[in-house]
Amino acid sequence: MKRRDLLKMSGLAALGAAAAACGGGGGSEAAARLQFMFWGSAFEKKAVEKMLRQFAERNPGIEVEPLFTPDEYDVKLNTLVAGGRVPHVGYVPMAMSFRLAEQGKLVNLFPYLTKYPQLAGYLPDAYLWYGPDKMHGTATANEIELLWYSKAAIAEAGIAPPPATAASAWTWDQLVENAYKLTVDQNGRHPDESGFDPGQVRQFGISSSITYGAAWYGFLRGNGGDFADGTGRRCLLDAPEAVEVFQNLQDLIYEHRVMPGPGQLAATGDDVPGTNILLKTKRVAMVVDGHWSLLDMNESKAGYGIGVLPRYAEPYTASQVAGATSVFAGTGHEQEAVELFAFHNDPRYVDLFAQGLWMPQEKKYYEDQAAIDSWTKNAGHPPEFRTAVVDYARDHGVPDFRNRVRNLAAISADVLTPALQEIESGKRPAGEILKAAAPRITGMLQGWHHTQAL
């Protein structure tokens, strides 16, 4: 008798607890709470948060908490992984994404491609594979490298602006020739005039990073070179095609004196002012930088124009220059998280495309006229955008090697970046440095990551 009473009592208590739990949710069904972790500028933060709000509105019962992490992203994400408190969906630094996928920390999205047809219609290079039929995410957006220029500087020099179609891209010599005309010291002299003072340059002709892989990968591929051979086990940076590309870059600084050397543009550490500021202040007349600059260009009314990169044999540019977005495994809300993943970079809902930060990953946005117009026909996209970006990306984009090479984090930190810094310092010719670095990189190479067609 006593025992039965006790059971009744505990049953009542359990009911009470359940009722209280329901009451906590305001009577609605229990909500899934997702976390979305991302980096970016203050402007990107606003836009991503807006996207997340939209997702929550369209999906009653799912709440999304933005985890904006502008600095030290890899450190913080690593810490979350170590502590077992990963977000549901988030940006993942490219090299790290492959490691986490291989460790089983990311959801294999391959089975979901049938459920979400828009995911299956991406550009082939967008997918990130950690094995056959194992896809751990996509590059967040498609991004390519472009030649941005200051319209005012071009007009002052009285030269034709950099071409906006790949077919008429400048050769390297044409780039150098025009860069001379665009480089001016404090006394108004150009580098090919006597009395030019390289220590007091008012306006540099061009800036094209030597240490940032995406900036030169298009040149390298266009000249018939590559980072590694077909097996991904032998580094090709000491091949003549590669040496020529890097020697040309080094020459821009020390031979032609049309490009700033290390530290010359820096404001704080490695933080060079944004391309929009460099062009607006005419500190530099032409800058090789990613498409994502468009947002800041428009925001700061930089008076910019967009050209395609100078060409070697082929007019190539690096594409898919972005981090990964992935769904984290073991968070308990996989379905909802995949739903958010499919939503987060869909141009139908996200205005980061029309605003100019991102380029879509779905093929149709490069092929179908109405779809192209949906993200490019607006005030934020200048008239040359169609040929200089949409067509250029579709026909001449080569996927960034940094999404493809295994073990690149260690290769970069230990050998590649130091070697590129040495080229940038101009103490030795590029060929000498690359001849020493390439075999060491070869020793660390572990092949290319898997890729496959859908």
Partner: protein, 293 residues
């Protein structure tokens, strides 16, 4: 009564003891255990014995970071000692506005570490930085400072002396403790300022110098901020300080086992260096109450 006091004593000390045990000893032991494993964040550790330590011996960047850090220590410690000692001597004079001078010389120490680094990034800027502007005004050749492989560490050594305030204050306290009668004795024997310095000040200050030397060496071996904020270890590994390399291994490449091994090797190095300094100290450090130490 005595027992009660003992109990209270332990109780009062408990927060500090617990803090030390949980946040210092615990992680240290854990890191030693990790150093014997191959552990990437996200994976599970597998025991590999001393493999990490063996791998260190063949790791070019380990040796590079060790030599860069030693270079920095050998430059920064003596320079800071000399500068702070000299300024402490000056501030130990009887002069007008002494308090203001002391404040001014101490002030840089109060600048937060990162703000300090950002400030120096500007000072070192090759184009419009303070140093190059001054050199240009004087008609002297300018320099790339931290952007040059050769000058990066010397630049950082110069920068390190800027925060000499704490060392200076300790020297100042030491100088004020030098017994006046010893100076008087030298004066009576006809000794000038140089003799007063050489035969009284310096010997009496050796314990303070020794203290600052040890603290300086231990501190500079752990230099990190400059590489982290300013140079990212570059150019071409010129400023790949040991702790920065460790940090990169741990949090960028997420090689926790290897990074733990690096940490323990640094701990051993600092222990050995400190031990050697103490052993050597008997030869040159003078304690007034020699028997009492």
């Amino acid at each position: 009564m005595r027992r009660l006091e003992t109990r209270w004593g332990w109780l009062m000390a408990l927060p500090a003891i617990l803090g030390f045990a949980i946040f210092t000893v615990g992680p240290m032991l854990a890191s030693f255990a990790f150093s014997l494993t191959d552990w990437q964040i996200g994976g599970s550790p597998s025991f590999t014995g001393l493999d990490n330590y063996a791998e260190l011996a063949g790791d070019e960047l380990f040796w590079k970071s060790l030599s860069v850090t030693t270079y920095y220590t050998l430059g920064a410690v003596p320079l800071t000692l000399i500068v702070s000692f000299a300024v402490a001597m000056l501030l130990n004079q009887r002069a007008r506005g002494l308090a203001i001078w002391r404040t001014i010389f101490y002030l840089p120490t109060l600048v937060p570490a990162i703000a300090n680094v950002v400030l120096w990034i500007w000072i070192f800027n090759p184009d419009f930085g303070l140093l190059n502007s001054l050199l240009r005004e004087a008609g002297l050749p300018t320099s790339q400072w931290v952007h040059s492989e050769r000058l990066a560490v010397p630049s950082l050594i110069v920068m390190s002396t800027w925060g000499f305030g704490n060392t200076m204050v300790i020297f100042l306290a030491g100088l004020q403790g030098v017994p006046r009668h010893l100076y008087e004795a030298v004066s009576i024997d006809g000794g000038g300022p140089w003799r007063r310095f050489w035969h009284v000040t310096l010997p009496m200050m050796t314990p303070t110098i020794f203290y600052n030397l040890v603290v300086g060496v231990v501190g500079t071996f752990q230099v990190f901020n400059q590489a982290y904020v300013m140079t990212e270890g570059g150019p071409n590994h010129a400023t790949l300080f040991y702790v920065y390399y460790l940090f990169r291994k741990a949090f960028t490449e997420s090689e926790m086992g290897y990074a733990s091994a690096l940490a323990w090797v640094l701990f051993m190095i600092i222990m050995v260096v400190t031990f050697l300094l103490f052993r050597n100290a008997r030869r040159w450090v003078y304690y007034e109450m020699a028997g009492a130490r």
